[in-house]
């Protein structure tokens, strides 16, 4: 995936569409947006950094997982098999991008009022006592659709494609505009690239 920070307007569309797609419980954000200000008055600008699982080629979360719950899928996507996860949370400590969440207990957005029908429908997917994270919307990919955050970005800041294909749009964007990754020094070979603002 390539995220063009020049196009990102910090609308939280990716975060919301991800929530809507996966119905993740409170406190779990597969995709999220970091905002911060840079510079000093009067030369101040707001910076946006959308973050998600980087689906690293050398993912430390896969190495430390004792049960092989964290694993590589076809196409290099890193996913979690929730039936294997024991909830040791070692993967959360190993991820340099802190994009994994532990779903400790079943909970709802409206507390004592109980789950909304939407939450109830979506919550069946999510087991408690296990770690959760972005899987690039694997079920959507299987249907030939784009990940929800990519499909719903109003400024088309996100591009999804095959990084192994040198002629793909993502490869060309990275080559032409000098794509960079977060924390390359961690040696994890992340597969989410950013284009400078």
């Amino acid at each position: 995936m390539v995220i063009d920070l020049k196009r990102c307007i910090g609308c939280y569309g990716c975060q919301l569409s991800c929530k809507a797609e996966h119905g993740t419980p409170p406190g779990v954000f597969f995709a999220r947006l970091l905002k911060h200000e840079e510079g000093k008055y009067p030369s101040v600008r707001q910076m946006f950094l959308p973050v998600l699982c980087n689906h690293c080629t050398d993912a430390p979360c896969v190495d430390v997982c004792p049960t092989e719950a964290s694993h590589y899928c076809e196409g290099g996507i890193v996913d979690i098999d929730h039936d294997k996860c024991v909830g040791c949370r070692a993967c959360m400590m190993a991820c340099p991008y802190n994009n994994r969440y532990f779903n400790a207990e079943r909970n709802w957005y409206f507390g004592d009022a109980g789950p909304t029908p939407y939450e109830l429908a979506r919550s069946a997917r999510h087991d408690t006592g296990v770690v959760m994270k972005c899987n690039f919307c694997t079920p959507r990919l299987a249907e030939g659709k784009l990940p929800a955050c990519v499909a719903n970005c109003p400024t088309t800041a996100r591009t999804f494609g095959d990084l192994d294909d040198p002629n793909s749009t993502v490869s060309r964007l990275i080559k032409d505009r000098g794509g960079f990754t977060l924390h390359p020094e961690a040696g994890t070979s992340p597969n989410v690239y950013y284009l400078a603002p």
Partner: protein
């Protein structure tokens, strides 16, 4: 998720240095307790074997079993724990699970054969059990440090000194347990136990000092933040009160007393030393903060 926990998570996500809270806070404290108990169990097995203290071997087994139970209680899905054997090739948690299993089977077998006074062919089995216990001990003493070192997301833990430090803690814990056992049974295994405690304590202080120095001089901003949190931040009370005062100053003062060391004094030294080890582990775990994510190059390339 309670409202308080949710608010805490959102506040953490907004902060530049997001602290890890899964290991060391709430139910996560069970992991620290588990690591502490298993480390002391390994150290106690080694020291009791060296000094031929049978009660110590039994105590090591009980501590190991307790540690295993506490580890299980920490897991989100404890009934699936047996699956942790799968990834022995790269996962230190998996190796720790195997090591602890070997230790419990081996030490339990050794103790059972010794307790029942079995002879003849059982001695061969006892030898095998001793071998299993020895292999298990080596693994459980070492694996915890490597678990932390493998955590690339927490720069302060991602240090090659961490395993050495945890091995030293295990021996210090073993000596502390032996001091308490000596006081309780009235059998002092040897003259050199306190000197050995002092020697290992110096080693622990040296390793810990080097780790902090390394994090401050060679570490990144997150590692430096962790050191700040321990020495002058949110964990300072735990570190100065629990680790330095209780775990170091109290035992050293007790040893330095002009009068002869009594059984009560020995027990106090052991307990204070063990408490200090627990607090230093807790401080180190709680000091873990994630790498900040906000470093964006301003231009392409």
């Amino acid at each position: 998720m309670s409202s308080q926990r949710y608010d805490q998570l959102i506040a953490d996500m907004r902060s530049d240095y997001r602290p890890q809270r899964e290991w060391g806070e709430g139910k996560g404290i069970l992991l620290v307790v588990g690591h502490f108990l298993v480390g002391v169990a390994g150290g106690t097995w080694v020291m009791s074997s060296l000094y031929h203290v049978t009660v110590g071997l039994a105590v090591a087994f009980v501590l190991g079993a307790l540690g295993a139970l506490v580890h299980l209680a920490f897991l989100g899905k404890p009934m699936r724990a047996f699956k942790m054997i799968r990834h022995f090739r790269t996962s230190w948690i998996s190796r720790g699970f195997v090591g602890l299993s070997l230790f419990l089977v081996g030490s339990g077998g050794c103790l059972a054969i010794g307790f029942l006074g079995l002879g003849g062919p059982w001695l061969v089995l006892a030898l095998c059990a001793q071998g299993l216990a020895a292999v298990g001990t080596v693994i459980i003493i070492g694996y915890m440090g490597f678990c932390y070192t493998a955590s690339k997301g927490i720069p302060f833990w991602h240090s090659p000194l961490h395993p050495a430090l945890y091995i030293a803690y295990a021996f210090r814990g073993g000596i502390a347990a032996l001091l308490v056992i000596s006081a309780a049974t009235g059998v002092v295994p040897g003259d050199g136990l306190l000197q050995l405690w002092l020697g290992i304590t110096v080693l622990v202080c040296l390793f810990f000092g080097l780790e902090l120095y390394g994090a401050v001089t060679g570490g990144n901003q997150a590692a430096r933040r962790s050191v700040h949190d321990i020495l002058a931040g949110r964990l300072a009370l735990l570190f100065y009160g629990g680790t330095l005062a209780l775990g170091l100053l109290v035992p050293v003062l007790l040893i330095a007393l002009p009068s002869a060391i009594s059984a009560t004094t020995m027990a106090l030294i052991g307990l204070a030393s063990a408490a200090g080890d627990f607090f230093v582990k807790l401080s180190t775990v709680r000091a873990g903060v994630y790498l900040p994510l906000r470093r964006i190059p301003q231009t392409a390339g």
